[in-house]
Symmetry: C2
């Protein structure tokens, strides 16, 4: 992969496009743009320049310049990624969308919002709520991550069981495509069969096929009634197995979350609070919505029965804020334990999840790995955090992590799973992507990338290298 350097001449052109204040080349100022939430410095890369765009027209002009002068452009939202999708592996420009942060419209009658990519997820959630509406997207990092990044990675989160992932919240996106053209993909429609679904193609493409400059998102009437249940299981297999049973009982939960015992203890320590069942229990948190209090009561009874029949030692109505504080503290609690962590984001069919958990724990023992596990169990998506053993060298630990990955992903692909449930591939997992993806599928992805981005300008080296 050969690119031209960003010269003084190019910098002047960039300043002419976005204004001098929006072009940064100072090393200290650029440092935060050399990484995302992956703390391991092995994955950090300095950009040659950071540019802040304020309009789609500016983004378009930058991409046209990049094509003309052949330097790479790496779009960046809040930098909360976990796969190095916004890290400039091949240098070039980091294009930050953080100044495009306006909620342009909340339409109560049409039930939609129009936002710029730099809008914080929680800001949109709150703005919708103020009008009695509801934005269903809810990644765990909602307090910091941006809508643009959510769309680029097809972020999942806590309500995907009922509402789907970010791709299901999007009516349409305005993107600057890899040749610098501003295009609108998708439409504010319940359905259509009018040509290729380019919106769905661009969503989740991690900034390799287009830079999102605006999005029209679905809003819903705010659910009237909701309830969180905490079921505590001694046996983790039984805990995992409850998901299918709940769905087969005719209940569509908003979410079903799982935390294993050692992770609960880690969170307990981090929050400095006693958590129920932390002696030897595994958590299953079930959130369910209802159309009335009676409806909710009926569902709670069914959930209690299903969980108890499946071996829960207790099923409690949980305090919403408290239980979610514990669940959302997972990432921070892990970080407090170690800055060197390998975060696997594996996903399998829900009915294969208990088997996957067994395999994860078998491999952890085999390779002497320190694990912390939380999962969006309702989606078959397990967050396996592997902490560096305190007494191990980086090289030794890294070798064991890699050996574990080989066995783990063989198991996962044999069971119909995939590399990433919601974090994306970025450049951190692209070697695994090349290794485990069906060659025919990968060939089609690369053909599309080459066709739409002939100069390989837009976020090159992410997901895969086009060669």
């Amino acid at each position: 992969m050969h690119y031209e350097k960003i010269t003084t001449e190019i910098l002047e052109k960039l300043k002419a496009i976005v204004g001098p204040k929006n072009v940064v080349t100072d090393a200290d100022a650029m440092q935060p743009y050399s990484h995302d939430e992956v703390t391991d410095p092995a994955y950090h890369h300095m950009p040659e320049a950071v540019v802040f765009a304020e309009t789609a027209q500016q983004v378009s002009a930058i991409i046209k310049l990049a094509n003309a002068c052949h330097f790479p452009v790496v779009p960046r939202g809040a930098g909360t990624g976990l796969a190095c999708g916004a890290v400039p592996e091949y240098g070039g420009l980091v294009l930050s969308l953080e100044k495009m942060n306006k909620i342009l419209e909340i339409n109560e009658n049409g039930l939609y919002a129009v936002v710029e990519p730099g809008v914080r997820t929680s800001d949109l959630q709150e703005a919708a709520e103020k009008k009695g509406l509801f934005y269903a997207g809810d990644p765990c990092s909602g307090d910091s991550c941006f809508i643009g990044g959510n769309i680029a990675t097809n972020a999942g989160g806590n309500r995907a069981v009922k509402y789907g992932t970010t791709r299901h919240q999007v009516y349409s996106v305005e993107v600057v495509n890899p040749t610098g053209r501003i295009v609108n993909l998708g439409a504010r429609l319940q359905k259509q069969s009018t040509g290729y679904s380019l919106d769905q193609l661009v969503i989740g493409s991690e900034g390799t096929l287009g830079i999102i400059t605006k999005a029209t998102l679905k809003l819903l009437p705010k659910p009237k009634y909701a309830l969180d249940l905490l079921a505590i299981f001694d046996d983790r297999r039984q805990a995992m197995g409850v998901v299918t049973k709940i769905i087969k009982a005719g209940i569509t939960p908003t979410c079903v979350e799982f935390m294993d015992n050692i992770t609960i203890k880690s969170v307990e320590k981090y929050l400095n609070e006693n958590l129920q069942g932390s002696d030897n229990g595994n958590y299953v948190i079930v959130e369910v919505e209802g159309t009335s209090e009676d409806d909710l009561d009926d569902k709670a009874v069914v959930l209690d029965e299903v969980c108890t029949e499946n071996g829960a030692s207790s099923v409690l109505v949980a305090d919403h804020n408290k239980i979610w504080q514990a669940r959302k503290a997972f990432a921070e609690a892990v970080r407090a334990e170690s800055l060197i962590v390998c975060k696997e984001d594996v996903v399998v069919p829900v009915d294969q999840e208990a088997a996957l958990l067994d395999e994860i724990l078998r491999l952890a023992q085999k390779y002497n790995l320190v694990t912390r596990i939380a999962s969006h169990a309702g989606d078959g998506n397990i967050h396996l955090n592997i902490l560096k053993n305190e007494d191990a060298t980086y090289e030794d630990w890294d070798q064991r992590v890699k050996a574990n990955q080989q066995e783990l992903y063989k198991f996962i692909y044999a069971h119909g799973g995939r590399l990433s449930g919601e974090h994306g591939i970025g450049y951190k997992r692209k070697h695994l992507m090349e290794e485990f993806t069906d060659p025919g599928e990968l060939e089609m992805m690369k053909a599309i990338k080459k066709a739409l981005d002939p100069n390989d300008i837009l976020n090159p080296g992410k997901i895969f290298d086009v060669e």
Copy 2:
């Protein structure tokens, strides 16, 4: 567009692939494969040969042969399309999937089905029901159309308000891609962020990017309680306006259907039955599901209130079979009136639907058009059928239909709508596709088609010409 003819030598090779009985060149036998449900003979084209495939490997061998010898291949399901998507505009081969008609698996624990493309939709619905499960896809032509065709056109139907269109029922597809490679796209997962969403790209691509040879589809537990309400409105604007009000009242109906008065009278005549409110009413049919009888009762009360407040002259609990017989008789009733019909399948945002209906009727008056209108009102998708005036020549009528289209689609695109809600573009609407689609978006679609199908073998001339 220049292709080679299918020679005797090629026919021999085809016979070697699928067996002699599966290669048809007799004109009479090929005639049914020269058209879909578009009755106007101006849109019929004879293939040079019809081939029946029985395995994905056969399909793959045929596509490789087509690339080597440069003849076009037009995949075909049940032929129930309404946009000439399966009609061999440029001659060549019609590849029928009708013999690949097996339901390979209904998995009760994993809640999914694996089917071949030639499975009739209603057969899958029934097979699921026998196991207490539910396949949510439900096009009006469910008794005849195939799953493969549903996927290729992203068929909508009667339950899309709650369950989405066909693309939302699909976990994964096995396709033979345009170069003849068998690839699996998507996975049986609730979510993933592992590269481009090629499954979503191929779904709805009308056989231009891949031939579906197998699909893994979502099943759900069978809804326990359901209810159909018929609301009769004197005012069609008020009838249409009720959709948003229902959703804002917090109810997600399974469907909301609309039929205007003149269409009700047409169906009444066709069925030779008296239909309620046919004197001067417009129908809104609302189906809603509930978790219990009480839940259903609560929803019925809210729906009654919302409809009455919005001007319904009566709201009745409808007999499910009877009301759906009337709704589904729409297409047949129109056909009984005239074989020469222009079927528009327009879609706009739900909150723009009443305005669109006004515009449709204004234009009908302006161009002296005979209209029959039913709509998936809950999706903003209006089926406007324009019958040839009995006293007009074809040319005169056709001219007025075309003039109407120009004005109608300008209005629709200005209001955020699209050409087709669920029928697709085929070759019947491709001139409108070229005219009304954003040039940047169209350029991207063509670039993808060229990249994946460099010889333009797979269903050429559908949706657009690549030039």
